[in-house]
């Protein structure tokens, strides 16, 4: 009876299991194997050992360039996105009429966010004669060349992706609801102001959620592709040439699949190290309610 029920469980997760094995695990293992070869999709493939990895770190100036641009992007986009999501969720956690409608509305961008059509729209909004600059000119400001200026384009791309703050917002909202009202009451009785309550009660109680969102958004940001690909194609002057774009170019424009596979594993290693570092640092700033 016992073993039978185990099989029943397996049958239930079979659709997921098949998807995972065929569409995730198999490609994962393949790409690891390819990263040690000169696989070019067509023609013969040779085993090259660690050559791809050695080339990445010692002979590819574009690797360092795009890793640098990606880091700048992560450093701008992730805090901006988290701050914005937190701000909106704090506003939405109050008792406002029609609150559910607002919550849905703020989540909509995350559903549409990554699509090509939206990215094309951003291009129209932020081009030199675009809507954003026209609005700015109404108040007498001559807007910058958001996407054509190499020193500004990456910042614009970061701004644009903040728009997809919905998933972080939902988690923040759930976290805010978990904080016992008694804590706020006690603080108010002791005479704490709003800012103090936020910093001393809300933030520490919310820190596990902040930590989770930080990790997830950092991982996502390192893999950002669509916005930079559609809006600027990595330009001008490669200023928005994010890691994902370089990986795509190597793999699907020049068909150096082996090298591209190695690049993606290098990115995996970088993200892994950063995540472990975050976990290490979390000991000093993340508070789990039960542990004291």
């Amino acid at each position: 009876m016992r073993s039978r029920s185990r099989y029943v469980g397996l049958v239930y997760i079979l659709p997921w299991l098949v998807g995972f094995l065929v569409l995730q695990l198999y490609p994962l293992v393949c790409s690891l194997a390819y990263s040690f070869t000169d696989f070019k999709l067509l023609g013969t493939t040779r085993w090259v050992g660690l050559k791809n990895y050695a080339d990445i770190f010692t002979r590819d100036p574009l690797f360092w360039k795009s890793l640098g641009r990606t880091t700048v992007y992560v450093v701008i986009a992730v805090p901006l996105k988290l701050a914005f999501a937190l701000f909106i969720s704090v506003v939405l956690s109050g008792n406002i009429k029609g609150i559910n409608a607002f919550r849905t509305m703020y989540y909509v961008p995350s559903i549409m966010g990554g699509s090509i059509a939206i990215a094309v729209l951003w291009r129209f909004l932020f081009m030199k004669e675009g809507v954003v600059n026209q609005i700015l000119s109404l108040v007498g400001i001559s807007g910058p060349n958001w996407l054509g200026d190499p020193s500004l384009a990456l910042f614009t791309i970061s701004l644009v992706t903040v728009w997809q703050f919905g998933s972080s917002m939902v988690l923040f909202l759930a976290g805010l609801k978990q904080i016992p009202p008694s804590l706020y009451e006690a603080a108010r009785i002791d005479g704490a102001g709003r800012a103090r309550i936020f910093l001393r009660i809300t933030m520490p109680m919310l820190s596990p959620i902040v930590f989770f969102n930080l990790i997830m958004q950092t991982i996502n940001a390192f893999q950002e592709f669509t916005a930079a690909f559609v809006i600027t194609q990595g330009g001008p002057l490669k200023s928005t040439y994010l890691y994902g774009l370089m990986l795509y170019d190597k793999g699907f424009r020049f068909f150096q699949m082996g090298y591209a596979s190695a690049l993606s594993w290098a990115l995996f290693a970088i993200i892994l190290v950063l995540t472990l570092l975050s976990f290490k640092s979390s000991e000093s700033w993340v508070h789990y309610g039960d542990a004291q």
Binding site: K40, L41, L42, G43, R123, M127, K128, E129, N145, L147, G148, D149, P150, T232, Q233, G235, P236, L237, K238, F252, R253, F254, F255
Partner: protein, 419 residues
């Protein structure tokens, strides 16, 4: 037990429906990219062919240009490619270099090749002397000029464009109105003009089949010094505003709203370039007097190739023959892939008045100035990336003409040595 029975039933139904599938019907897959006009024309050619050949069904797989190459190469790698493929001309060599993927079209293939220009087949559709595909049409380039913008700047619309007149006349547009520019051209197309200028100076083909550069650093520097004048005299839109429309200049509002006077076009794309431009004139691009190579390209619009692993090569070739040589196929396709490649088809379309005047005019202008065909290395995508990168840095004023020329030569030689 009940479950077992139902499983068995499902299997039985599935088996029965498989067995009931009609036998002996040959299905060919045919893929191409294009815009809606080309899709409709090609679909009607397929319909006409199927009507004449009831045993053959052609499955159309069509879409836009973006991602087509990626998909095709992936299909070739996984041996799931279509039987008949529309490919871009440089891919004939690029893909054949990687593996033997295209069927060689021999003498007894059942296709009448007499109407094709023999040098065209040899220069553009062959790999190591073997014919690997057939040109879908003739494609050439020229300038398209907005008469209204020219008139506003006091430029005669009949001006013939030379490298000098582009400076002397072209600069008038920006002088007259500081918001306007003569040339609507981003760094990607500019890099094409840089190589063309260099080819006209040197008479060479940029990179020979021996992987050696066919120009000197001094010639490259002279070219960049000339294009610096385009920028300094306000002939060309600044790179910081053209970059967003790099290689899709026709989408730039500055072109659509009459802020720029001139853009470069392929005959195959003239429809979309002039979509919002009723008042245009077509003119030849500049060529230096006595240039041994004008650098101006006339090449197949695309190439139709048959997969080497197709199970029905005979039928696939018969379909190609139908599109190129059967009056019904010719009329159905019309000018959806530019001027047709065979004399017979051109005559037929002319007689039926199915050839748009602009397409024919551009192709004739380009044919008159036709330069030497490009070599495999000059068309290589990684080489193109280097040229585009250097020109983009130059266009953003990050490189002086001297530095741009030396960067170009050094980086190209490095890359060529690595192949």
């Amino acid at each position: 037990m009940k479950r077992l029975v139902s499983c068995a039933l499902i299997l039985a139904v599935a088996a029965a429906s498989l067995a009931a599938a009609p036998a002996k019907q040959i299905t060919l897959r045919f893929s191409w990219w294009g815009s809606d006009g080309r899709h409709q024309a090609t679909l009607s050619a397929i319909k006409a062919f199927e009507a004449k050949n009831p045993g053959v069904k052609i499955e159309a797989e069509y879409g836009g240009w973006d991602g087509y190459y990626q998909k095709l190469v992936t299909q070739l790698a996984g041996a799931t490619m279509p039987d008949i493929m529309q490919i871009d001309q440089p891919w004939v060599a690029e893909l054949s270099n990687k593996g033997d993927v295209f069927l060689t079209i021999g003498a007894g293939a059942g296709i009448d090749l007499s109407g094709f220009d023999a040098s065209f087949l040899k220069d553009f559709c062959s790999y190591k002397g073997q014919l690997k595909g057939l040109p879908t049409g003739l494609n050439g380039t020229s300038f398209l000029l907005d008469k209204d913008v020219l008139a506003a700047a006091g430029i005669n619309s009949n001006t013939e464009w030379t490298w000098d007149s582009m400076l002397s006349e072209g600069s008038k547009v920006h002088k007259k109105d500081s918001k306007k520019y003569f040339l609507n051209m981003g760094p990607a197309i500019m890099s094409m003009f840089v190589t063309r200028y260099i080819n006209q100076l040197s008479g060479g083909v940029f990179i020979g089949e021996d992987k050696k550069l066919q120009f000197t650093k001094a010639q490259a520097e002279a070219a960049f010094a000339y294009f610096k004048k385009w920028q300094d005299q306000g002939v060309i839109v600044p790179a910081s505003s053209s970059i967003l429309y790099n290689n899709k200049e026709e989408e730039n509002p500055a072109w659509i709203n009459g802020q720029t006077a001139c853009m470069f076009t392929w005959a195959s794309a003239v429809d979309k370039v002039r979509a919002s431009k009723p008042n245009v004139v077509i003119k030849a691009e500049p060529v230096m007097p006595k240039a041994a190579n004008s650098g101006i390209l006339v090449r197949p619009s695309q190439v139709f190739a048959v997969s080497k692993d197709s199970e029905h090569p005979k039928e696939a070739l018969a379909f190609l023959n139908f599109m190129f040589n059967d009056p019904e196929g010719i009329v159905a396709l019309g000018s959806s892939r530019g001027v047709p490649p065979t004399a017979k088809a051109r005559a037929l379309l002319k007689e039926k008045k199915l050839m748009p005047a602009e397409v024919e005019q551009i192709t004739n202008i380009a044919l008159a100035n036709r330069g030497k065909p490009q070599t495999t290395w000059a068309m290589n995508s990684e080489i193109g990336e280097i040229i585009a990168d250097v020109v983009e840095q130059f266009a953003f004023d990050k490189l002086s003409p001297e530095k741009a020329a030396s960067d170009l030569v050094t980086r190209l030689e490095q890359k060529l040595a690595s192949f």
